[in-house]
Assembly symmetry: C2
DNA sequence: TGTCAATATGGACATAGATCGATATATGCT
DNA sequence: AGCATATATCGATCTATGTCCATATTGACA
């Protein structure tokens, strides 16, 4: 079964390529883009992304993230879900553990919108 | 009189250069960085940035932004204030009008955090 | 099968934030 | 001075969200 992603990743891609700073974006594009950026605009989630990227192999299971974050397990689970649904992190279940990893392209997509011609 | 900026721009700069994806950021860095990204993570504010950047001369007064946004004047004023306090836009008062313009470096700062080595 | 560990979900709560109408402030013009 | 326009602020309201505890679910293993 494929987990449904409430945030349309393809649409986000389009919003990406409609350059924010060279021509006016539509209300719909702004909506999609804001949703993706909003997923990143939280201290806990930024730290999660940072922790994941700095982890050996670029991945970590949730159990390794809870303690360094200083948040409860349900809260960490919630934040990872937000990141996942925004397409910013990937997850892979191996037996009992779920390994999360960042999706660099997703971060680059956001970066590209902000920096025209780079 | 100098308007106070609740968001420490210098600190945001530091948070910038602490590469998000190559080493772990601190809780404080995450806090500052999230505040800046959060200022951008809103459909209305993304459209404002887009409208400003696409305006002739790269600037526009609030009166020209209210109508295309479809929001009330106080709401637009609020969003511009958020963007200004985050350092994402600059403002300059000329007689009755206040002209706003994007600060490309501020956008680039966010982009740089997301894309290591580019 | 029963237990334990990892993760997810549901419900509750508190705070933050987006929005508006009404009003205040500031500036130019007659 | 008085009025009109542009912008800012205030107060209220409704919604979104971050957080936790309690509990459900899943998979490994004795």
């Amino acid at each position: 079964m494929v987990t449904k992603l409430p945030l349309d990743v393809a649409a986000a891609g389009e919003a990406c390529c409609a350059p924010l700073v060279t021509e006016t974006i539509t209300a719909e594009q702004a909506e999609v883009l804001a949703a993706r950026i909003k997923a990143l605009a939280d201290p806990a989630r930024l730290r999660l992304v940072s922790l994941l990227a700095a982890s050996p192999g670029g991945e970590a299971c949730q159990c390794d993230l809870t303690e360094p974050l200083g948040l409860s397990q349900p809260t960490v689970s919630h934040h990872l879900k937000v990141l996942y649904q925004a397409g910013l992190v990937a997850k892979e279940k191996r037996s009992t553990w779920v390994y999360y990893s960042v999706v660099p392209e997703a971060l680059a997509t956001i970066a590209d919108v902000l920096t025209p011609g780079r």
